[in-house]
């Protein structure tokens, strides 16, 4: 919607027509200029926030690498090693995606291809409610129900008190709405003519959904999965409560392991004087986390852009 053109009243007026002599240029209005500048300033604040994040993180990180060697940070063992945190984050994220992608995509396919408009209006807010539950509540649920009751008693899996499995499963449920909502947008954007063509060839709804609509919307679905992944990496309270508080390079999801966000939350809850090594390490891990999610988000945004141009 470009309302700009309407404000420029001074568009060239063909000579000879009535009114050709009148100056139609918009009046300069100082108050309007001030208001517009104020609004633009608010919009620029978002850029300032990004710059602020980078500055706020980089400053302590510089002093951190003055205190700790670069190799000590990107090491697999030791007090300042970050690799075990990254591997635990990956482990939890993969488990979460294994839960969230099939469930989110299934929900999206039902809402977009099978549900009537009325059913959709009723079911969509219900699915989105899952994203509204506070993450500390999910964390408590993972700790108090999923680990002892579901995993240990019902499924009799030998998991520890805190473990990557329970945290990943619950995290997966939490990001189902993210994946479902964006995938549904992508599926709904596929032109109806493609479905009609497929149905006219004698395909049933399942074949149409899986072989025509899904491939046509695949880039939008990919963007949804990537954004879900970014959510999973950045989610804090579930992993802080249920994934564990010990660095662990193990690939066994039944063990407890500390993730990047878990490390930040657990270290921040303790006493860390400003400028100390552990305080600065908080920011080093935070910067790494920001950079990882930043790159993933940019990938997601660029995928969405490309698919929007397709139809």
């Amino acid at each position: 919607m470009n309302t700009q053109s309407t404000t420029r009243a001074g568009s060239p007026n063909p000579a000879g027509l009535p009114g050709a002599g009148i100056d139609l240029r918009a009046k300069v209005r100082p108050t309007e200029m001030v208001i517009k500048a104020g609004l633009a300033g608010s919009a620029l604040l978002s850029v300032a926030i990004t710059i602020g994040i980078v500055i706020a993180l980089v400053e302590p990180v510089i002093s951190f690498f003055g205190q700790v060697e670069f190799g000590e940070f990107f090491a697999t063992t030791g007090d300042f090693a970050v690799i075990p945190l990254v591997s635990a984050t990956l482990m939890v994220t993969v488990i979460a995606l294994l839960v969230a992608v099939p469930l989110g995509l299934g929900a999206a396919m039902y809402l977009s291809e099978y549900a009537s408009a009325r059913t959709r209006r009723a079911l969509k807010p219900t699915v989105e409610l899952l994203a509204g539950v506070p993450s500390v509540v999910y964390g408590f649920f993972a700790l108090a129900f999923v680990t002892p009751t579901l995993l240990q008693d019902i499924l009799s899996i030998g998991v520890g008190f805190t473990n990557a499995l329970a945290a990943g499963l619950v995290l997966g449920v939490m990001i189902v709405p993210t994946v479902a909502s964006l995938s549904e947008d992508a599926l709904s954007a596929v032109p109806q003519a493609m479905r009609d063509g497929s149905l006219a060839m004698g395909a049933n709804r399942m074949q149409t959904t899986l072989r025509v609509v899904l491939p046509a919307a695949i880039s939008g679905v990919a963007a949804a999965v990537v954004l879900g992944m970014s959510r999973a990496i950045g989610e804090t309270m579930i992993v802080a409560l249920a994934a564990g508080a010990q660095k662990n390079l193990s690939l066994d999801p039944r063990e407890g392991m500390q993730t990047m966000t878990g490390f930040i939350a657990q270290t921040a809850a303790g006493e860390n004087p400003v400028g100390s090594v552990s305080y600065n390490m908080l920011f080093a891990v935070g910067l790494l986390l920001f950079l990882i999610t930043f790159v993933i988000n940019l990938i997601s945004i660029s995928i969405v852009r490309r698919y929007r141009q397709a139809y």
Binding site: M1, T3, T6, I35, K36, G38, L39, A40, G41, S42, A43, L45, S46, V47, I49, G52, A56, L57, L103, G106, A107, Y110, A117, R120, L123, V127, L129, G132, P134, V136, V137, G139, F140, T149, V176, D185, S188, Q192, D196, L199, A200, G202, A203, N204, R205, M206, L227, G234, E235, T236, M237, L241, T261, I264, A265, A268, L282, T293, N297, L298
Partner: protein
């Protein structure tokens, strides 16, 4: 809104073209449909289990102590969440006062005034989309730096938490406000401009009032996200053990999610029970905000 009208159109045409309908009853198709139903209702089942399990384990603590008393180490079975509930209310109000005007102003600029062909406006857009997906802990780290910048040494105060939470929900408010403003038909703007109103008069007196229900819905949903956030508050050093009511924006504060988090690390049964009961209180607050948002959307949203 666009998508719902699309669906309505699609439904009208479906009966006529559904030649494959008889083949929808093949075993494979039914299994597939069953799987879709499963994925749709799995989340709902989890939510019900979560609420039931928490309500059962917190059942013994639904008494007046829960909301009128402070956190207690002497009597775990009488510990209460007065400070957390009041703190959460203070944080929410301060957050709304900070984030809502800024968010609406930014959204109005981007929708109504910005020239979208200019690179810097496109840059702001990509930046906003990215900020909406930045992990909440990172906003906590930023708020620590902002507070240090404006000269507050103690960070566990109402203002600190509110700054972190408003940074967190600002992108959400901007994005939903833009959608609401975009849904206002151009005829309303053109009519106003044609009568001689300036751009700002049109925006302030025509576009914005028409978009209020959408903006309110988005803002409340943003706040319902902020109310349950614990991670950024944790970074600001907002602790669970505060035993007085907050009395201003520089007063030390605690929040309900933080109290729940600190109680889960206690091993005593009474604290676990109290945490369960507090979770139900928090869920009631979140669900009430969500219900309010849905109510406003259904009651006041205009469809053009």
């Amino acid at each position: 809104m666009n998508s719902s009208t699309l669906v309505a159109e699609r439904d009208d045409t479906t009966p006529a073209i559904a030649t494959g309908k008889s083949r929808d009853r093949e075993p494979m198709s039914l299994v597939f449909l069953g799987a879709l139903w499963f994925s749709l209702f799995f989340g709902v089942v989890v939510l019900i289990v979560l609420i039931l399990d928490t309500a059962v384990s917190g059942a013994g603590r639904f008494d007046s102590d829960l909301i009128t008393r402070y956190d207690s180490t002497l009597f775990p079975e009488r510990t209460g969440f007065r400070a957390g509930i009041l703190g959460t209310v203070w944080l929410m109000v301060t957050t709304a006062l900070l984030a809502v005007p800024l968010g609406i102003a930014a959204a109005l600029y981007l929708e109504e005034f910005a020239d979208k062909t200019k690179w810097y406006n496109r840059f702001i857009e990509v930046n906003l989309q990215n900020l909406a997906a930045v992990p909440s802990v990172v906003y906590g780290l930023l708020a620590v730096a902002v507070l240090a910048l404006i000269g507050f040494q103690r960070t566990g105060i109402v203002l600190g938490g509110a700054i972190a939470l408003s940074l967190l929900i600002l992108p959400v408010i901007i994005i939903t406000t833009r959608e609401a403003v975009r849904a206002v038909p151009n005829e309303i703007r053109f009519g106003s401009l044609a009568l001689g109103a300036t751009m700002w008069q049109t925006t302030w007196k025509q576009t914005l009032p028409s978009a209020i229900p959408g903006i309110a819905t988005g803002t409340i949903l943003g706040l319902s996200r902020a109310i349950g956030e614990a991670a950024p508050l944790l970074l600001l050093g907002i602790a669970g053990a505060v035993r007085f009511d907050p009395d201003g924006v520089t007063s030390p504060v605690t929040a309900l999610p933080i109290q729940i988090y600190s109680l889960t690390s206690q091993s005593q049964e009474a604290y676990q029970q109290a945490a369960s009961a507090a979770i139900i209180v928090l869920l009631v607050m979140v669900l009430a905000l969500n219900a309010l948002a849905i109510f406003i959307r259904n009651k006041f949203q205009r469809r053009w």
